[in-house]
Symmetry: C2
Subunit: 135 residues, 2 copies
DNA sequence: TATGCACCTTGTAGCAACTACAAGGTCAAG
DNA sequence: CTTGACCTTGTAGTTGCTACAAGGTGCATA
């Protein structure tokens, strides 16, 4: 299959696929006589793997690790487990951070009672460091 | 005060402060005889404002808008309100996204029962598109 | 046969918001 | 008078793409 077809099949832009190849994330494809990339089903599987891992929030470096690990069929999968664990913890931390961000923004919204900007507590609140929004 | 002092006072790196100046987010400072930047309390207030807005997740473009608005003391603060609202909605969306990411990662972790990578469901799950992790 | 159009190629530059140098100037203390 | 901490400018790197530009290919249609 050509790059456009693979792109459509995986919901990836052709440019991104070429980028992955440059970065060594995907193996280079065969070429047709006219120098077009010619992909196999293995490429389709690999790209699906990569995209899914990226959607799950893994970094490119982590995806590389996952790819390396998934080639070692005989090894224990403890390392894969650890990578997923790490990622889960990061995501959980980001959630905690965003929740407190959300609370701050809600407070900020409630603090605007005035009509004019110079009386607006939002603008005033921004001029103070974080954590002292209330009063 | 010099740039290092301002940096310490606001928890910003000196390089970031110079970057803000280049970007027009902060007004240029006066210079000493030896060409060092010399900051006033107004700069301290402005930088605090900027950093706080950034910590709240506002983009540089939004910070610019907020700064412009906060200068128009006589205007109604409806626009400020709208910006905060927008940002709140974005944060809430990011939270929703991350929550479902977290669930996916948890499922993935539970799916690893095997010991060898070629029997590990995690690796297998990654090879399938999102949304079909379970079974 | 020509020509239009969708597709492909490479290479380079841009995005956000910094961060990290390098190479050199300034200033106070010892 | 030298050491060290600070400052200056300028440039390049980070992450993960995305967007061109300039040109080649392949196929259907006039």
């Amino acid at each position: 299959m050509r790059i456009g077809e693979l792109a459509k099949a995986t919901g990836t832009k052709a440019e991104t696929i070429r980028y992955y190849e440059r970065e060594g994330i995907l193996p280079a494809a065969d070429r047709t006589d006219s120098n077009y990339r010619d992909y196999s089903d293995n490429h389709l599987a690999a790209l699906t793997f990569v995209r899914r891992a990226r959607q799950l929030g893994f970094s490119m470096a982590q995806v590389r690790e996952l790819l390396d690990l998934s080639d070692r069929a005989d090894k224990p999968c403890q390392e894969v487990d650890e990578l997923v664990h790490e990622q889960l913890e990061e995501v959980e931390q980001r959630i905690v951070d965003l929740l407190s961000l959300r609370d701050e923004l809600r407070l900020l919204l409630r603090s605007c009672q005035a009509n004019r900007i110079d009386e607006c507590r939002i603008v005033g609140s921004l001029a103070r460091p974080l954590g002292r929004v209330t009063r």
